[in-house]
């Protein structure tokens, strides 16, 4: 049978959705789970072969494309653009355009903020509070670029403004790195996988962490003390996309999958499975009230306005960040 090889995040392709797709189209879907870095590195290793559809974040498309040429331009005519929230589609297209060609369309979006056990760590309201001695040994964040960006904002810098100026950016990152290094002794571990963090929060090994909103809301429903908090300096907004690898073998199926996924009723189900929001136009109406309520609780109007959306990452920036992160992990 026809096959679609999908490289995506956990929960983005739940089994029942896959089954429904197969039923409708006769196309089988082979799902491989991954994260941004591994998605790109896999494609880099294969020069864009091995998968037919991938879902990196929108800021991770242009740079790697420029360096490695691992994606194929998207034929927008094959997509039903009215299925997308127009503003989000436009923003994503802009961020993923290289040499006039579009390489990604939006799928799921969400934010990075703080998950706080309000009983054990009532005072945590911003990223810097993770470094507070009161919760020594019980905080956590990922040793990845979102942490750098978040702490930059929390300490009054604007990293996105310096994207174009590598030197200034490097200097800024050094400062952030120093701040994080100081914070490190407070950290139980740098979390890696979502469930790993959630388990630690559940068990009380960790009481406050920088993490994705969905995780916080999931825990909230289990334990009312745990809340997702939009930090004072602003949550970080991300958008995961659909992109087609340069040597994908089944573009038709890929477009079919995208269109299928963006159908409001399907998108709603996926959003519920992932616990995030979708770029599908009209899906929010179908979504259960709970997620909306949680979003409303975590994001008062001001906080929504304060969300910092990632712009596309220019090539070279990640190298600067990478070194800072390495130092953070290695230094003691």
């Amino acid at each position: 049978a026809e096959k679609l090889r999908l490289l995506t995040w956990a929960d983005y392709a739940p089994a029942d959705i896959v089954a429904q797709f197969t039923k409708e189209t006769g196309i089988e879907v082979e799902v491989t789970l991954s994260n941004n870095e591994e998605m790109i590195s896999k494609l880099r290793a294969t020069q864009g072969a091995g998968f037919d559809l991938v879902q990196p974040s929108q800021d991770r498309i242009a740079g790697p494309q420029q360096e490695f040429g691992i994606y194929k331009p998207i034929d927008l005519s094959k997509l039903k653009s009215d299925l997308f929230i127009a503003s989000m589609l436009e923003a994503t297209k802009k961020n993923t355009t290289l040499d006039g060609k579009v390489y990604g369309v939006p799928h799921i979006w969400g934010t990075d903020g703080l998950i706080v056990n309000t009983k054990a760590a009532p005072k945590v309201a911003d990223y810097n509070d993770l470094c507070d001695a009161a919760i020594a040994g019980k905080s956590s964040f990922r040793a990845k670029r979102p942490a750098l960006i978040a702490f930059a904002f929390a300490n009054g810098m604007d990293p996105f403004a310096s994207y174009k100026d590598a030197k200034a950016y490097a200097a800024m990152m050094d400062k952030v790195g120093a701040k994080l290094a100081e914070c490190k002794k407070n950290v139980k571990f740098f979390w890696d996988g979502k469930d790993q963090l959630l388990n630690a929060l559940r068990s009380g090994e960790v009481v406050a962490a920088m993490a994705w909103d969905t995780g916080g809301w999931k825990l909230s429903s289990e334990n009312a003390d745990i809340k997702f908090v939009a930090p004072k300096s602003g949550a970080l907004g991300w958008v995961d996309t659909f992109a087609i690898p340069s040597k994908g073998r089944n573009d038709d199926a890929a477009y079919k999958w995208i269109n299928f996924n963006m159908r409001p009723e399907i998108a709603a189900k996926i959003a519920a499975s992932a616990g995030n929001f979708t770029a599908s136009n009209g899906a929010d109406k179908l979504m259960q009230g709970k997620l909306k309520d949680q979003f409303a609780e975590s994001f008062p109007k001001a906080a929504i306005d304060n969300i910092k959306w990632y712009p596309a990452v220019p090539a070279g920036i990640e190298e600067i960040e990478g070194k800072v992160l390495d130092r953070l992990k290695a230094g003691s």
């Binding site: 020069q47 091995g50 890696d192 996988g193 979502k194 469930d195 963090l197 959630l198 388990n199 068990s203």
Partner: protein
């Protein structure tokens, strides 16, 4: 010297407890009716083996396509690796023990070399090299050769690169013990060379061939470092386990681990029994 002191015996006992503690813990908590593999004990369940996911939100190993496919992938890798390791290992052993040619010591040293290369380095070097070959072929032929990209074939080659050394050593060790006058005796009694090989040499090597096959199977099943760098869209068991462990383990991993232990234990006992029968 031959009467061990009590301290020594205690040390031995402690050592074996130390050796098995982690495995026992893993095995026991495969049956814990809790979504996390940690104490306290919440009661006995088989949910993590055969559950459909209705109880803990995640299905048991035998119902979860992720685990099932990765177990399948492990076999898809291990069986060819074992087969090729035995086949090529036998030929290599023959070259090492029987052939006379200049540069033999160099070749023998080269065959040992993979053992002192870190697995990760082996992985990246093969990845980089085959990727260059694939790119070159792509430019030249305008066709992408999937086999040379990360994926099952490359994992098989990567594992083979060092498992072959082990297989060669095992078979060569046995071949070295072979008394060549047995072959001469068979010739002397009128057998043709092919017959000598079939009736005398191969039967003698059989335990080593079998042993090398099992060892290759086990090593392939548990290899992580090299595989990690070469895996494509079809991860074998260790890679999946690693992913799940970084995600925060559920007892499903314990269940898989227990199955793995039982499998390995089974193979090891077969091996022990056959080698005993051999004596």
């Amino acid at each position: 010297m031959n009467r061990p002191s009590i301290v020594w015996k205690l040390y031995i006992a402690a050592f074996y407890i130390f050796l098995f503690a982690p495995l026992l813990v893993v095995a026991i908590f495969a049956f814990n009716a809790s979504p996390f593999p940690s104490p306290p004990w919440k009661g006995f369940t088989l949910e993590w083996f055969v559950g459909t996911g209705s109880v803990f939100g995640k299905p048991g190993v035998l119902k979860d396509p992720i685990w099932l496919t990765s177990i399948g992938n492990s076999f898809k890798i291990a069986l060819p690796v074992a087969f090729l390791a035995v086949l090529i290992g036998t030929v290599n052993a023959w070259v090492l023990e029987r052939a006379e040619f200049r540069g033999k010591t160099v070749l023998a040293m080269m065959m040992l070399w993979p053992l002192v290369i870190p697995g990760v380095v082996l992985g990246i070097s093969i990845l980089a090299f085959f990727s260059r070959v694939a790119n070159g072929l792509e430019d030249a032929l305008n066709a992408d050769i999937d086999m040379l990209r990360p994926g099952l074939p490359l994992v098989i080659l990567g594992q083979l690169s060092f498992i072959l050394t082990i297989a060669t050593l095992i078979i060569a060790a046995r071949l070295r013990k072979f008394d060549r006058s047995l072959e001469e005796a068979a010739l002397d009694l009128g057998a043709s060379r092919a017959r000598v090989l079939r009736t005398v040499t191969l039967p003698f090597l059989k335990p080593a061939l079998f042993g090398a096959g099992l060892v290759a199977l086990l090593m392939s099943f548990e290899n992580f470092n090299t595989t990690l760098m070469l895996v494509g869209s079809d991860p074998p068991l260790p890679i999946t386990m690693y992913g799940q462990m970084r995600e925060g383990a559920t007892p499903a991993i314990n269940a898989v681990s227990l199955m793995l232990m039982l499998g390995v234990g089974g193979i090891a006992s077969i091996f022990a029994l056959t080698s005993k029968a051999e004596q």
